[in-house]
């Protein structure tokens, strides 16, 4: 585990015991047991269809499941969430500022960003390198730029628990550097971060703990120890066995 963890974590610890999830006749998760230490980055890796997103949605209380998920909140209960994508009409005249207004305020978006929120919005967009593109339409941004905006909204209000569902998907080199830096800054303030990630090199560099999920936990632990060539081969062979991409 990394040695620069915030001394006082503001984020919760999470204990998942015997988690099971079935959709129709298919079993998505079986007997998943994971412990997430407060104030750390916990990465979830594994093949597509291995149940990572379902685990996150169970964690968010959005999917019926068996087993227990206990979240011990030390203080606040603010959750930031970065989804994989947005479903909207690319021709919609919704600027980056408009999208931020829709997510962070109740005042109708057509009345503009409220003065109270404008400063905070400027700050988080700056943190992900999108402050120059605030007047651009969301539909005109590249996939990576949209992901950065999605990441920015998750920082408002500042989260105690940050849940990232593949925020790096389709993000270019510059974008992923911005996001990685923002994640580390958030972690430095003691937030617990649960992060689905596919880039094993980055997981090795950034994560405190990694869990490989393929319907159940394949392995879990310190990335420096568990991301061995044998384990990586195991992920690939699971993926190959199930006909899925890692």
């Amino acid at each position: 585990m990394r040695d620069d963890i915030a001394t006082t974590a503001r984020g919760p610890s999470i204990h998942i015991q015997g988690l099971g999830l079935t959709l129709g006749r298919s079993s998505i998760l079986e007997n998943v047991c994971v412990d997430i230490v407060p104030g750390t980055i916990h990465c979830l890796i594994g093949p597509n269809g291995g149940g990572k997103t379902s685990l996150l949605r169970s964690l968010l209380g959005q999917m019926p499941h068996t087993g227990t998920i206990r979240i011990d909140w030390p203080a606040g209960r603010r959750i930031g969430y970065v989804p994989q994508q947005l479903d909207f009409d690319r021709d919609l005249p919704m600027t980056v500022d408009d999208f931020m207004a829709i997510t962070v305020q109740d005042r109708p978006v057509f009345m503009g960003l409220s003065r109270r929120k404008a400063c905070a919005v400027a700050e988080v967009l700056d943190a992900v390198g999108m402050s120059q593109k605030r007047k651009r339409r969301m539909g005109a941004l590249s996939g990576g730029e949209r992901q950065r905006v999605l990441f920015a909204q998750a920082m408002l209000p500042f989260p105690d628990l940050l849940i990232l569902d593949e925020p790096m998907a389709g993000v270019d080199e510059v974008g992923s550097q911005f996001i990685a830096k923002a994640v580390m800054d958030i972690r430095a303030k003691g937030t617990t971060i649960v992060w689905i990630h596919h880039d094993l090199a980055e997981v090795r560099e950034l994560a405190d703990t990694v869990t490989c999920l393929n319907r159940t936990v394949v392995f879990t632990g310190d990335p420096a120890e568990v991301l061995s060539p044998e384990h990586i081969l195991e992920i690939f062979s699971h993926a190959h066995h199930h006909g899925k991409k890692p």
Partner: protein, 294 residues
């Protein structure tokens, strides 16, 4: 109050302050309705277009035909069968939304099925009750008529516009976010399923309340055409909203007044939608020219 407004308009028309047609009370009634219908349908239209629910609004509009038929059948006044209209259309919208949330069928297919069933019931009932009423009344429901608008219609429209305006504005952002990503919306405390029902009821009640002016067949067009034109001309949600409401209101006023002023034998609903369509045509042509020039 309505009588005082009509008298004021009458006097202004006589003194030349307003067009001569305002001497007639029904013109004042129609203009008041236009000033309610235009902004409200335009505002809700921005949400209908953003949430990609154009086909849904069409289905609700056409369900009104069945509501009218049921109203005539159970003895409501043929020109104002509001209990049946609201009752049937709200049930139709709730049943459609409930089914949509519980099947894997595509939204388009499901709405098409519901629309077909509703139209089949409506057509059958209308033929059945055709002997009980003047058939031209049905034309007025289908395509709108300002001649039949009375104080009750204005009151119904004003109450529904107020309700829809207050609820819609207070939950505008949340309703949009729920359509962009329901999971994100839930994390942000949005009651996604509940707001979905609130939205379909909002669209339904304002559709039914506008049927007298615009007509059941055409009311959905006023949700869509102004917003579709405004989307081309605007660069932000503020512009999108403002231009949509402006086009919708101007189209409604022109569509009501122009046939009278120029003695054109067309229904108000048709004139309103034709006017809105001119804006859409202008927006589309201007975009083509802009692209060509760039």
């Amino acid at each position: 109050m309505m009588e005082a407004l009509r008298l004021l308009a009458h006097d202004l028309a006589l003194s030349g302050g307003l067009p001569a047609s305002f001497q007639y009370g029904f013109v004042t009634n129609a203009v008041l309705c236009a000033l309610l219908v235009g902004p409200v349908l335009g505002s809700i239209g921005t949400m209908v277009v953003t949430k990609r629910l154009a086909f849904f609004s069409q289905a609700v509009g056409q369900a009104a035909l069945t509501g009218v038929a049921i109203g005539i059948l159970i003895g409501e006044p043929p020109t104002a069968p509001y209990a049946s209209l609201f009752g049937f259309c709200v049930l139709f919208a709730l049943a459609l939304n409930f089914t949509k949330n519980r099947t894997r069928m595509s939204s388009d297919t499901l709405i098409g099925v519901f629309l077909s069933i509703s139209m089949a019931i409506g057509a059958s009932l209308l033929v059945w009750v055709a002997g009980q009423v003047n058939v031209h009344l049905v034309d007025k429901v289908l395509f709108g008529s300002i001649l039949t608008v009375n104080d009750l219609d204005i009151a119904v429209l004003a109450v529904m516009s107020g309700l829809v305006g207050v609820v819609g504005l207070a939950r505008y952002n949340r309703m949009l976010l729920a359509s962009f990503n329901p999971q994100l919306a839930k994390v942000r405390g949005v009651q996604v399923a509940f707001l979905d029902y609130v939205f379909v009821v909002m669209v339904t009640v304002i559709t039914v309340a506008s049927v007298k002016i615009i007509g059941a067949m055409l009311v959905e067009a006023l949700f869509l055409i102004p917003a579709a034109a405004a989307r081309i001309w605007s660069g932000s949600m503020r512009g999108f909203f403002a231009i949509t409401v402006a086009i919708s209101t101007v189209s409604t006023l022109v569509g009501i007044l122009a046939p009278m002023e120029f003695d054109l034998p067309i229904p108000s609903g048709g004139a309103i939608i034709l006017c809105a369509s001119l804006f859409f045509l202008a927006a589309t042509v201007s975009r083509l020219f802009t692209r060509h020039a760039s």
